[in-house]
Amino acid sequence: FFFLMIRRPPRSTQSRSSAASDVYKRQMEDTVVLAYWHIQSFAEPLRMLLEYLHIKYEDKAFHTDEEWAADKKALNFPFPNLPYLKDGDKVLCESEAIGYYLAFKAKRIDLFGTTEDERVQATMVRGVLADFYRDIGQFVWNPNCATDQPKVFEEKFNPRLKRLNDFAAGKKHIIGDNINLVDFLLYQVLYTVRKIDAKALDAYPNLQAIAQTFENIPEIKAYHESDRFKSRPIYDDEAPFKFPAP
């Protein structure tokens, strides 16, 4: 508890109370920094997670290599990479580690899974989604994406969507009744695939239902109605695949 006591006061000026009971509340209201490029990509599941967990954050977005280079220098951290999370003096990289950290910080270890079996299943789904999301990134940056699109969907995307759809049958969230960290990554995959092709999920009603349930979570809904979400491109404007304008 002592180290919390000597941290800097929060940047926001919302709470002026100095009562001991408010100190902890203010610590939880401290702003963390999530830094990434100015696009959705790998940071978006983390932004949604921060919103869901009610953790105040500064959404630090780099537009150029020079901006990142300057920040990297100022950060003075041995393993700088994007995305990173800064929480007080602590800096953390690797998106999955950041997700874990936030779940612990918010005391939401249920997000890992409420049973050992759920934790194993979530880890399995995360492996599948990590590959899927990487394939999406490769497609978006493929100079021949327009001509390759039907083949990519047939050979790479649809087989995975079908298996995920089967796995999702009868479930509220991808692991079951309880929302899981891996739901945030799944939603981003489904959202992006649907932006590539509006009909991409037509054949996968279980995934549509899960996406809708996720979108209707109040914190997610509010975030999606915000300007900072609406103005953010999914990937770089330079990418060969042209998404519809945000």
Partner: protein, 219 residues
């Protein structure tokens, strides 16, 4: 009560499943190996495998089949009641997750390199640009530690060891500038179950790469 039988399905190589094999050995679990020697043989089994995302490696335990290496590792940790291997506290768990991300990226990069013959002539340049920066960071992170997370062995030590092992086969000098990583490797090798497994025929006779890989090791 009889212990549920464990079968690990994979190609008959070390490949990407070796961390799981070492984990099985370390945990002292009895297991069988189903080694596929052709894509056709695997395709036939894949069609009937009762699991949501059929792939290699898979783990069959009793009547359940599990895929995705990390999920298999998690399962084995729970099965053997060794949740300490996730990390001794939340901070270690987070650190282990971060290291795992770095090790996954390095592994993916050198696997892509091995499978792309057009790049092989440029190995030194490739190592300089992609591999050494990450090894330098891992080496700094490993300073003063017995295992990569600290005093306690972690799941991520298994993946890290295997990645460094393959890199060492690709370039015997790759760890010359990274004494902390050499130390970590030595400590991992010294674990009795690991040491015994490395001395076994099962390990020594197992090729590292698939027969289709065009990569030629230097030594």
């Amino acid at each position: 009560m009889a212990e549920a039988s464990i079968t690990l399905g994979y190609w008959g190589i070390q490949g990407l499943a070796e961390p799981i094999v070492k984990l099985l050995e370390y945990l002292g679990l009895k297991y069988q190996v189903k080694a596929y020697t052709s894509p056709e043989e695997w395709a036939a089994d894949k069609a009937t495998l009762n699991t949501p995302f059929p792939n290699l490696p898979y783990l069959k335990v009793g009547d359940k089949t599990l895929t995705e290496s990390e999920a298999i590792a998690y399962f084995l940790v729970f099965h053997a009641n060794r949740t300490d291997l996730f990390g001794a506290n939340n901070d270690e768990r987070v650190q282990a997750t971060a290291v795992r991300g770095v090790v996954s990226d390095v592994t993916r990069d050198f696997v892509a390199f091995i499978m792309d013959a057009s790049k092989h002539a440029e190995q030194d340049k490739y190592f300089e640009e992609k591999i050494h920066p990450r090894l330098a960071r891992l080496n700094a992170f490993a300073a003063g530690k017995k295992h990569i997370i600290g005093d306690n062995l972690n799941l991520v030590d298994f993946a890290l060891f295997h990645a460094l092992y393959i890199l060492g086969k690709m370039d015997s000098k790759v760890l010359d500038n990274y004494p902390n990583l050499q130390n970590i490797i030595n400590n991992f090798n010294a674990i009795p179950q690991i040491n015994a497994y490395h001395a076994s025929d099962a390990f020594k006779n197992k090729p590292l790469l698939p027969p289709t890989a065009a990569y030629k090791f230097r030594d």
